[in-house]
Symmetry: C2
Subunit: 218 residues, 2 copies
């Protein structure tokens, strides 16, 4: 397989929750990879450079170069990894459970994250951005909490880690950045605690990234 010869290259930003999703998946599957940092804040955002635009026309991270192709969009990348590297599957075998995993992923990946990402917050403006982000995170987490109450075991869906957990933990990290009160979401909090000491989640954590500024870990 090409990936054994050429290590996959992940374009990532330490604090990007979508990059973190893919880092977790790579860690869980024990796929060695090289990180190329794309700073979303330096010089107005390196993701808008001509060079990076040719990697990802959406001008955002992550992007993954693997098996001779460049893939963008975190859910597409995680599905590709799962379909080509079946070790440590990120989806259950049962079709209904797979749908339940994807529901939770989609509430986060379409219903929360896009509304509180950096590009949108810049457009919303400094004055309103915190209230705006909190509003959409709380709305989405209420739905996630209800979906979890019907599906969670040790993790989001049953007792194995899935794509839903790869989406949830980075979103909880974002929620804390925006000072969202997480007490109304006990299942989310329980799963977050369950995974905070998991090696794949530790190694992929924003604070463990080469581009994390030292002051952020204090």
């Amino acid at each position: 397989m090409a990936s054994i010869i050429n290590k996959p290259v992940l374009y990532s930003y330490w604090r990007s929750s979508c990059s973190w999703r893919v880092r977790i998946a790579l860690q869980l599957k024990e796929i060695p990879y090289e990180v190329r940092s794309v700073s979303l804040i330096k010089a107005g955002g390196e993701q808008h450079s001509n060079e990076y635009r040719s990697v990802n026309p959406m001008e955002q991270v992550p992007a993954l170069q693997i098996d001779g192709v460049t893939l963008v969009e975190s859910m597409a990348i995680m599905h590709y990894l799962d379909e080509t590297r079946p070790q440590r599957p990120l989806l259950p075998r049962d079709c209904i459970k797979r749908a339940k995993v994807r529901e939770i992923c989609e509430v986060i990946a379409s219903g929360i994250q896009p509304l509180q990402n950096l590009t949108v917050l810049i457009y919303v403006g400094e004055e309103k951005k915190n209230e705006w982000a909190k509003h959409w995170i709380k709305r989405g987490f209420s739905a996630v909490e209800k979906l979890l109450s019907a599906n969670a075991g040790k993790y989001c869906v049953g007792d194995d880690i899935t794509m839903a957990d790869c989406c949830l933990i980075p979103q909880v990290f974002n929620a804390r950045r925006f000072h969202v009160d997480l007490r109304p979401y006990p299942t989310i909090l329980r799963i977050d605690r369950e995974l905070e000491n998991h090696p794949a989640f530790i190694a992929s954590h924003p604070n463990q990234q080469p581009d994390c500024p030292p002051e952020a870990t204090k």
Copy 2:
């Protein structure tokens, strides 16, 4: 299979682009289904009723009752239909092509639609909503056009209709509602023309829905 005895029930709103995605998939796979209309505008939005909230905690359409379960979120539903009803596949067999389909889906389903849906536009406010919606559609369509230039055949990825087409055509409909100039996106326009006379896209079109108000089709 349960669905042969109990027809699947789709909670749908005629103009909802996410409902339309699922209607296209059901039509392509020739799965008979019953529509229950959820008006997103009547009485402040029927999706916020206690009754509907128990169907979909995100308080949005679509939701599909099928095989004894209720599924929400359009990408999760389309994947479930594809995994349980393999006729007329919505994803290519090749893993890289599947990733390319999912990239286009995700740019639309996470990068465009969530930013221009009704709930967000109400929150943005009457005065700014058109400019806001246009901004995000144009940004996303620029990326979709680039992805298509590398992957499109007769349709979004190759010569078979995929989930990417199920996402693209409803988003083009939305773009027209917001008077987005589509001339900078020739491949999007070509695929839209290619599919406008396809039976599955006609039958699932907003104007063909039982809850479409007569004045909308004029």
